[in-house]
């Protein structure tokens, strides 16, 4: 018991003193100062550090969450030593979570043994996780801050990995895995070998854009990227059977008065991390007003329904139903599944519709690459203004533009271009 207590104190101290996100952030900030091209004298450096530290007083770090959670419990998964306990940290946004769900599903199919237990940890998107990972995909779900996790918690598992673009093993008890479930040892080894060959793309998110380019060369889509050696056989099709809450399934369409309506869903938003409404991914509002007004006149048989987070402005002209901020994720799933078409910028909702096998979407691409993020059943549009997707190419790529003609990617997707694509989709009877 005393040993247990000492271990807990050690973890706590370790976390408090060394493993806080703040510390890592500070190290990064100092490294940035040193990587400047011009060497300043040490006084200027010191002043910059003081300035940075002063600003940090007003920033939010994991340590704040720790205090909030004081008295709370770390996830208790009741790990059994006779099992192979695998922990996975979900990283990224809703789209990334969906890819991961599909990955875990196929992983479990391949390593289908009662002794393999998979536990999912997450430090973001609290509300979305249960809705995406469902009830049966993993043996346990738990919220944890990054600091808490790497304060020693990850070592409780026999194999722990972070999965963002690729799986990356951060803890491995190779001896136990080799004896308990040898098939998994080879899998873990290949992940580790891949890591050492491609460290840059796994260690720094800034090189995610390059990892995407490599995948394009290899003919892989985002959904297939984490299956880097093809060992899980992930294809473009989403095979994980995404569940929808029964209650939502039964009542959503009636609740919003959309029953028996031919629905076109509009999603033109990005998450706050990617600049929200200011994101370069988002189609210009003025274009939306013109376009959707024309759509509502040209195709009166369709009902236009705008989805998204809490509204920052009014709905687009021509939109019949503004449901932004009014739907739960379960209700959103129902709408996405029942809509005849989705029109919008590339993002999580397009991936969710693909995962739900909802049908085709008309997707407007800007900073991200349609060859990598686009699905074959969709119409993936890129404007002529900028042929170089710039995801991750420079700091601030989500909201700033490097093109000589600002935001040429989205502004060159004029209402006329999108209308032609829509006409094609509706005439081709791809949309029923």
């Amino acid at each position: 018991m005393i040993a247990d207590l000492i271990a807990k104190v050690k973890i706590w101290l370790d976390y408090k003193l060394h493993k806080k996100d703040f510390t890592q952030d500070a190290i990064r900030a100092v490294a940035d100062l040193h990587s400047g091209s011009r060497e300043y004298n040490h006084r200027l450096h010191a002043l910059s550090i003081i300035h940075w530290c002063f600003l940090s007083l007003f920033r939010s770090y994991a340590s704040d969450k720790w205090r909030e959670k004081k008295g709370g419990q770390l996830p208790d998964f009741e790990l059994q030593p006779e099992n192979v306990n695998i922990g996975i940290l979900a990283c990224g946004g809703i789209g990334d979570f969906l890819m991961l769900a599909n990955y875990i599903y196929l992983f479990r199919k391949k390593f289908n043994s009662p002794c393999v237990r998979v536990y999912l940890l997450y430090d973001r998107n609290k509300k979305a996780v249960p809705s995406i990972f469902g009830r049966d995909l993993v043996d346990g779900l738990g919220y944890i801050t990054h600091g808490e996790l790497y304060g020693g918690f990850h070592q409780k598992f026999d194999l722990f990995m972070e999965v963002s673009r690729f799986p990356k093993i951060t803890h491995l008890d190779s001896g136990k895995i080799a004896t308990t479930y040898p098939e998994l040892a080879g899998f873990a080894q290949s992940i580790q070998a891949f890591y050492y060959e491609n460290k840059r793309q796994l260690d720094y998110p800034a090189w995610d854009g390059q990892a995407g380019l490599v995948s394009i060369i290899q003919g892989k889509k985002r959904i297939q990227q984490m299956d880097f050696d093809g060992s899980l056989g992930i294809a473009e099709e989403f095979v994980y059977p995404m569940f929808i809450d029964e209650d939502a399934q039964l009542h959503t369409m009636d609740k919003f008065g959309l029953h028996e309506k031919r629905l076109i869903v509009i999603v033109n938003d990005a998450d706050n991390q990617n600049g929200g409404g200011r994101s370069n991914k988002v189609w210009p509002r003025s274009y939306c007003d013109i376009f959707f007004e024309k759509v509502s006149k040209k195709y009166p048989q369709y009902t236009l329904c705008q989805l998204g987070g809490a509204p920052s402005g009014e709905a687009y002209a021509g939109v019949h139903y503004d449901l932004r901020g009014l739907t739960t994720l379960e209700e959103t799933k129902v709408l996405l599944q029942n809509a005849q078409l989705l029109i919008g910028c590339e993002g999580g909702m397009v991936h969710l519709r693909h995962a739900l096998h909802g049908g085709p979407s008309l997707v407007l691409f800007g900073p991200t690459d349609e060859r990598f993020f686009g699905y074959s059943e969709n119409t993936n549009l890129r404007g002529t203004g900028c042929q170089t997707p710039c995801e991750w190419m420079y700091d601030g790529w989500t909201t700033n533009c490097m093109n000589a003609v600002s935001n040429a990617c989205m502004y060159s997707l004029t209402p006329k271009v999108v209308m032609e694509a829509l006409d094609d989709m509706l005439e081709e009877t791809r949309v029923e």
């Binding site: 390059q210 709905a315 002209a317 139903y321 170089t388 000589a404 040429a408 502004y411």
Partner: protein, 522 residues
């Protein structure tokens, strides 16, 4: 006597980088000022080719290694620059640089750029790793390998070398003086295996050349250190790199040069030679190509992968074996380009020229010809002719120092016509203090009113150009006159242009949204 200021420059040691660097330095040397600029070059163990080029251009050897560059005593130099793709300022003595004001300005820009997180954050962290990003950004901005160091175009570097390397015109090339020839470089022994094209393919090209162009001799070239095997069918083989002067002479005078993306292509350009047919694989033709060369790229892979992985130059990410991009280049594709080179049908691939900016008058309605020219500008992606009531139009006006979207009905022009001159005077004053905005004068407005009265006004006689947000871009004063005279519902003929726009004021957004609220079923 002019003062001499010293400039230390670190360069990469490959032939292409050195030539581009020397071109850049010569442009700097031409900058006007009260001091002569003396360059000291630092690079890691330059090969004999580079040494010969440096000796010709600078009449001096390399001053030191990269290690010595890192340990330079700054006091001895006016400016210290690390030249990779872009110049990065290491040190600048602003006081000394006052002697050459343009260099002082450039130095400050290089310093700012190097610290600018937006532009070069990744570049600073790891240069080679950042190439796949940086080169794509530069290409997007119309930059090439040659003119990328000239960041803002001050030095006037475009797509031609200003330096001119020379070669001995009397050299004995072992080819009859009056005989024309085609040069070929295969680089079989180059260390980068993914950029190479199979010698057999080259031999097929040579066989076709011999049958289609029998009057041309075929000369195979090589760089010092390379030991390419002679190809079947060549008339002369200079692949040991020993006959450097001969190689230069042949490169300068060859009718066409066929090569992969190697230093010899850059050398031919620096010698002001003719067109080359360049086989591109892992490197970017947009960035490393020249406007008057012919880039050949296979169809197997449309993503250039230079520096995308640590093994980019030895392992193809697509096939994990032979580079599929190079393997998909066929002898027929090369021959097509050779034929184009002979017929001089060269399509420019770099430094595309922008059309001149067209300005519309803020006063009178633009003429149809002016509108036609306006909508053809770069950055205008579409246009359509519509008719809108004047009440739905907006102008860009100043609210304090901030430009906002203001309804035409509330604009300073309308208020001026209603007899309230204060708002218009204020607008004139603020516009006068702002950069890059059209300036208004009362005289011109008054003159327009008089002229329109003289010529007569019809209700449907007003034309404007407006953005997707209905902000008038030309003819706003005339639209105000029409609205004042014929009322808010007067139809205005609008050419709506689809382009990027920044000025959208929040209150107006909300106002427009209110109109749409009626459409909302909920």
């Amino acid at each position: 006597m002019k003062k001499v200021i010293s400039v230390a420059v670190r360069m990469n040691r490959d032939l292409g980088s050195v030539l581009v660097g020397l071109n850049f330095l010569q442009s700097i040397q031409m900058l006007p000022g009260n001091a002569d600029i003396k360059f000291e070059l630092f690079m890691e163990a330059p090969g004999p080719t580079v040494q010969s080029v440096l000796a010709e251009m600078f009449d001096t050897a390399v001053a030191g290694t990269e290690e010595e560059f890192a340990a330079l005593d700054r006091k001895d130099y006016a400016i210290i620059v690390d030249l990779d793709i872009l110049p990065i300022l290491i040190w600048g003595d602003w006081h000394l640089l006052r002697q050459v004001p343009e260099l002082l300005r450039l130095g400050k820009m290089w310093e700012k750029n190097a610290q600018d997180k937006f532009y070069t954050a990744f570049y600073r962290r790891n240069r080679a790793w950042s190439y796949p990003y940086l080169l794509r950004i530069l290409s997007q901005q119309g930059k090439t390998f040659l003119n990328a160091p000239d960041i803002d175009g001050t030095l006037g570097i475009r797509d031609k070398y200003t330096i001119k390397l020379s070669c001995d015109p009397n050299i004995n090339t072992c080819i009859a003086r009056n005989r024309q020839y085609i040069s070929v470089h295969t680089g079989q022994s180059a260390k980068f295996s993914t950029v190479q094209w199979a010698p057999k393919q080259f031999e097929q090209v040579i066989a076709i050349l011999r049958s289609e162009y029998p009057q041309y001799a075929i000369v195979q070239l090589g760089l010092p250190g390379e030991k390419d095997k002679p190809l079947k069918g060549v008339d002369l083989c200079l692949t040991d790199g020993k006959d450097w002067e001969k190689i230069k002479y042949i490169l300068e005078n060859a009718a066409v040069h066929i090569d992969y993306d190697s230093g010899l292509v850059h050398l031919r350009k620096a010698l002001h030679g003719g067109p080359s047919v360049v086989l591109f694989g892992p490197t970017s033709p947009e960035f490393y190509g020249y406007g008057d060369d012919l880039a050949v790229r296979g169809s197997a892979c449309d993503v250039w992968c230079m520096q995308l992985t640590d093994q980019w130059n030895t392992v193809c990410q697509k096939s994990r074996g032979t580079a599929s991009c190079m393997a998909s280049i066929t002898p027929q594709m090369v021959m097509q380009s050779v034929q184009k080179a002979f017929s001089m049908q060269i399509t420019e691939i770099a430094a595309t020229k922008c059309s001149d900016e067209v300005f519309l008058s803020a006063y009178r309605s633009p003429e149809p010809k002016e509108i036609e020219a306006f909508v053809k500008q770069k950055g205008i992606f579409d246009n359509e002719a519509i008719v809108l009531p004047a009440s739905e139009l907006y102008v860009c006006a100043f609210d304090g120092q901030k430009a906002v979207r203001m309804p035409l009905a509330e604009s300073p022009m309308i208020r001026y016509l209603q007899g309230n001159t204060t708002a218009y005077k204020k607008e004139i004053r603020i516009r006068g203090s702002q950069k890059g905005v059209f300036r208004y004068t009362r005289e011109e407005f008054d003159e327009l009113i008089k002229q329109l009265k003289r010529d007569g006004m019809q209700p449907d006689g007003c034309r404007v150009v407006a953005t997707a947000n209905n902000v008038i871009e030309g003819g706003e004063h005339q639209a105000a006159i029409w609205m004042h005279l014929f009322g808010p519902d007067v139809p205005i003929r609008v050419t709506r242009v689809y382009k990027y726009e920044t000025v959208i004021s929040e209150p107006e957004k909300a106002a427009k949204a209110k109109e749409h609220r009626g459409n909302n079923a909920l």
